[in-house]
């Protein structure tokens, strides 16, 4: 019996190639999207779950309460972790990590390694990264021990065995390779190319840091016993801090509260800033979009199948008259849809595999190399395919199986309007989805363009930024270096600073005299700059003056602030703050000027208070105004000059505008994904429409012929056939607009600087849908309307 079903199913698929192709194509696209996004979501949810003790590991983070604000940091200071382990027996183990960027040299190989992680020797006990060579317990014990990932090992040593070999760090220190480990999995919140022993820092580079409770910078992870309640430990932590540094906290009026976050929650759920961070709401959006696309494909299926149900009516009648149960017929028709969806399933697995590299590139990470990397997922995929077949087939199968044989066989069976309203409903939902997606894409791209074009309050064009991190003697010889570089042809102007817009900055505990005359403390962002920075970046000074060599005290006592500082201290006018006292990081003096707010961070956030001071000690980058002509020549001249100035370093540079836009990388990525989804949704929906309209047209061929004979014009007929669909699109527009408005309004809330949603965006989306519908319906209708009526009438 079953074979008989399959046979019929297959022959039907082949016989109605056009409809089968539409259905299979739609389902394949839908499932491919679904599976890819499933893999993406699964990947995002899998962060850090590969550690054996994943359920026992907690990240320790710090809430820093200053008199004015609460800073929620993801890091701790160096002594906190060891003290917790010493004080609490339930802290079974602890590891501290600290990110570093080192210049590493091996023979002639020299690279700036941005992803070095310093870690305590307990690292391999706490985490389950796989050590291939070396001793897990001791590899990270001695200062200047290095554990290389396979990738890094290959980079420096090729195929030779690196164990025991030495590497030169920052051109000064010799370190020994004590271990080789597997590359870090892509789904790890700790991302590094090599590990260095924490003792390198605590014993050699920064001795004494182990006693500095107020010096933040380390990530700390603790291991609790299986099943332990982290809250129980967390409740004991305030007393713990009080006992260790109660006095210090009171004196500085900075209070630290330690918090525990489950390791596996950190990536997606933590609200604290981190270099590797997921976005839960994007995951939701993707999941919903994937479901949308799949459902659009399913709706096509239901639509076409119910529309064509009449054609199968005879078969139903005959089968019933020779003894088929209704349930057997239902099963038979379900078999067909499931067969179709399994065909699409196989195709979509192939598509997934072919598209995986492109998809990895699109989401910006290697979520997996082969679709079958996790064999278990195949069950989910298969289950989805069967469920799709059932969902798509259930309604048509029920309609079909319910036909009364007597009616059908007597031929009293004309065109059935059964399921017509359902069909209209499904088409409307498809258009609602399409319109929401089009509107979403429009708004996302407008916002991206807006962020790209929005004046930021500083000059970012033709600005080349050179990395001077770790260059020796920079603190003293920077004026000379700057001069030598500024003299090069193609370079118009240069200035040193600790950071440039878009690249993050440090912050410092600062006291500034407020309106009431009190020294008001707060944690304020800080740029260390030279005399030319303000002018070169064309940041506007709106009160007082910029730094100037003419004032000898500027290099030790002057401070510039931005407008945000002025208002946070309660001053009404920028002029009011000029001459007020401040104290910051070992420096005291007066405020000499106020600069207009410039967006030194992404437009997602409001401009925060910022102070600027002259501090050559902190210089890390050199910004250059370069002329657009002859950039390659300028670059090679720069490289040459740099290599002479700092032979131990590597020349590296970037263009400021590109780097600034890179902050929106995930937003651009999001935009591209939504755009893709919208295009796919529209293609599938219009294919469905095409199938439906061509079926309707064949059914109404005779009517069209008669109408033509009676004098209807092609336009009349076009209207006749497309009126219903246009009405549906209009209704869809009415439903989609508020939904899209709400969703996109929410999405825009993440941006401090954002576009206004305007009515034309929805109109555009609606018109887009109308055009697509008109083209699809119109072509078919015109074709039908142009047929010579004699032809269609004679066939009857």
């Amino acid at each position: 019996m079953f074979r008989n079903y399959l046979k019929i199913a297959w022959r039907n698929i082949v016989k109605h190639r056009f409809y089968s192709a539409i259905n299979i194509f739609g389902l394949t696209v839908g499932m491919t999207c679904c599976f890819l996004i499933f893999m993406f979501v699964r990947f995002e949810l899998s962060y850090d779950t590969f550690h054996r003790k994943a359920d026992q590991i907690y990240r320790v983070s710090t809430d820093v309460k200053t008199p004015t604000e609460l800073i929620r940091a993801a890091i701790t200071s160096a002594p906190m972790g060891p003290a917790m382990k010493a004080d609490f027996p339930e802290v079974l183990n602890m590891v501290r990590v600290n990110a570093a960027s080192w210049l590493i040299q091996q023979g002639d190989n020299k690279y700036q390694e941005d992803k070095v992680l310093l870690a305590d020797s307990s690292f391999f006990d706490v985490f389950s990264f796989r050590l291939l060579k070396g001793n897990a317990a001791s590899a990270l014990r001695a200062p200047f021990s290095i554990v290389l990932t396979e990738r890094a090992a290959h980079k420096y040593f090729g195929d030779a065995d690196p164990m025991g070999k030495s590497l030169l760090i920052e051109g000064e220190y010799s370190a020994t390779v004590t271990g080789i480990m597997k590359d870090v999995p892509a789904n790890s919140q700790l991302d590094f190319d090599m590990l260095a022993s924490m003792s390198t820092l605590t014993k050699a580079l920064q001795p004494g840091i182990d006693e500095q409770w107020g010096n933040f910078g380390m990530g700390t992870y603790v291991v609790l016993p299986p099943g332990a309640d982290p809250m129980q430990l967390e409740r004991k932590l305030p007393a713990f801090m009080e006992s260790h540094i109660g006095d210090m906290m009171k004196r500085g009026s900075m209070y630290y509260t330690l918090r525990l976050e489950k390791l596996t929650d950190v990536y997606l759920h933590s609200t604290r800033e981190a270099p590797v961070k997921g976005n839960l709401s994007n995951i939701y959006i993707f999941a919903v979009v994937a479901a949308f696309i799949l459902f659009i494909a399913i709706f096509n299926f239901v639509n076409l199948a119910t529309a064509k149900a009449t054609e199968r009516a005879k078969e139903v009648g005959v089968r019933k008259s020779i003894g088929a149960f209704t349930s057997q017929l239902t099963l038979q028709f379900l078999c067909e849809t499931i067969l179709l969806s399994l065909l699409a399933f196989v195709l979509s697995l192939v598509c997934c595999q072919l598209l995986l590299p492109a998809f990895n590139a699109l989401v910006g990470k290697e979520i997996r190399t082969y679709v079958f990397d996790r064999a278990g997922d195949l069950y989910y995929f298969f289950g989805t395919a069967v469920a799709v077949g059932l969902l798509a087939g259930a309604y048509p199968a029920l309609i079909l199986a319910a036909y009364k044989p007597a009616l059908v066989l007597k031929g009293a069976f004309g065109r059935s309007d059964k399921g017509l309203s359902l069909r209209k409903c499904l088409v409307a939902i498809q258009f609602v989805t399409a319109i929401i997606l089009i509107a979403g894409v429009t708004i996302v791209y407008r916002q991206l363009a807006y962020m790209h074009q929005q004046p930021l309050g500083f000059k970012k064009e033709q600005m080349l930024v050179m990395d001077f991190t770790g260059v020796r003697n920079l603190q003293t010889s920077w004026p000379d270096m700057k001069q030598r570089i500024a003299r090069l042809p193609g370079v118009e102007r240069a200035s040193f600073s600790s950071s440039v817009p878009g690249e993050g900055q440090s912050s410092a505990y600062t006291l500034i005299e407020n309106k009431a005359g009190d020294m008001q403390p707060s944690n304020i962002n800080l740029y260390s700059v030279d005399y030319d920075f303000i002018q070169q970046y064309q940041v506007k000074v709106i009160a007082g003056r910029a730094f100037s060599p003419a004032f000898a005290s500027d290099s030790t006592a002057a401070l510039l602030v931005n407008e945000a500082v002025v208002s946070s201290l309660g001053y009404a006018q920028p002029q009011d703050i000029i001459g007020k006292r401040y104290s910051q990081w070992g420096r005291e003096g007066r405020i000499v000027g106020v600069v207009r707010n410039f967006n030194y961070r992404s437009l997602r956030a409001e401009v925060e208070p910022l102070t600027l001071r002259l501090e050559p000690r902190d210089f890390d980058v050199l910004s250059l105004n370069v002329s657009t002509a002859g950039i390659p020549a300028t670059l090679s001249a720069l490289e040459q000059a740099f290599t002479q100035l700092a032979p131990e370093r590597r020349f590296s540079y970037y263009f400021l505008d590109e780097a600034f836009d890179r902050q929106y990388r995930t937003d651009y990525r999001f935009g591209r994904l939504i755009l893709l989804a919208a295009i796919l949704a529209i293609i599938i929906a219009s294919l469905g429409l095409l199938g439906l309209i061509s079926y309707i047209v064949t059914q109404r061929t005779k009517e069209i012929g008669i109408r033509k004979v009676l004098g209807a014009s092609v336009i009349n007929l076009l209207l006749l056939l497309s009126r219903d669909f246009l009405k549906l699109v209009m209704i869809a527009m009415l439903i989609a607009t508020p939904v899209a408005w709400y969703v996109m309004h929410r999405w825009l809330q993440d941006f401090a600087y954002r576009i206004h949603i305007e009515w034309w965006m929805f109109l555009l989306a609606g018109l887009g849908a109308v055009v697509v519908a008109m083209v699809t319906v119109g072509l078919q209708s015109v074709k039908a309307a142009l047929v010579n009526p004699v032809k269609s009438l004679r066939t009857e």
């Binding site: 019996m1 008989n4 046979k7 019929i8 022959r11 039907n12 016989k15 005879k314 078969e315 009648g317 005959v318 089968r319 019933k320 008259s321 020779i322 003894g323 088929a324 149960f325 209704t326 057997q328 009364k404 044989p405 007597a406 066989l409 007597k410 031929g411």
Partner: protein, 220 residues
């Protein structure tokens, strides 16, 4: 075998109803070959469908092999379709997607006949109707007469006790019609299958034992 008492049938039309059959009394004994005749629209097909359990009468009582039909469950009726009743239609109503062989085999599949027996029974029927050569063709590759032969083959393959045929030769020319009629006669005489056919032709009716005239929903 078949006993109709005061059977009536009407269809709803707008707010009223359209009476098609009115107070029909009819008895057909096992082994009979009956022809139903009457003008178009007089209710012949409706009567045949009621007899064949495809439609329910609006009133009256119908005993099939002594059992009241209106008390039968859906399942029981389907069981009768599988084993006791065969249908032959004017428009053949073969399943277009199945070959000749598969069309004939389908009733046996529903009856859960084991594979080997299925094969031999289908082969027997093919042989008997001289259509072995056609067994792998699809219905649209056959002439009308051949299609009707397949239709009849499908009706008898499950060895029913009664065949209901609704204008089985209506779409055929007279030579083909005669072949079909002789086949019915043969089935009736040697296989003892009861046959009830609707026909417009006196010649065809002459193959049977008895003619029932229907006019305006009543037997004359």
């Amino acid at each position: 075998m078949i006993q109709l008492k005061h059977i009536s049938k009407h269809y709803p039309v707008g707010f009223g109803k359209n009476a098609v059959l009115d107070d029909i009394d009819l008895t057909i004994h096992a082994g009979e070959f009956v022809s139903i005749m009457g003008p178009s629209g007089s209710g012949k097909s409706t009567l045949l469908h009621i007899l064949g359990l495809l439609e329910e009468p609006s009133g009256g009582e119908y005993l099939f092999e002594g059992e009241p039909v209106h008390k039968m469950s859906e399942k029981k009726r389907t069981q009768l379709h599988r084993g006791s009743i065969g249908f032959v239609f004017q428009a053949y109503h073969l399943i277009d997607e199945l070959t000749v062989y598969e069309n004939i085999e389908t009733p046996l599949l529903y009856k859960n006949v084991p594979s080997s027996e299925r094969k031999s029974r289908v082969a027997d029927v093919l042989d008997r109707f001289n259509i072995v050569a056609k067994k792998d063709l699809f219905p649209n590759q056959l002439s009308g007469g051949q299609q009707q032969l397949v239709g009849i083959a499908r009706a008898i393959v499950a060895e029913p006790r009664v065949i209901f045929a609704d204008e089985p030769t209506g779409n055929l020319h007279s030579d083909q019609a005669r072949v079909i009629m002789q086949l019915f006669k043969h089935l009736n005489e040697t296989d003892k299958i009861t046959i009830v056919q609707v026909t417009h032709s006196e010649q065809n009716a002459a193959f049977g034992h008895r003619v029932i005239e229907i006019r305006d929903g009543k037997i004359r």
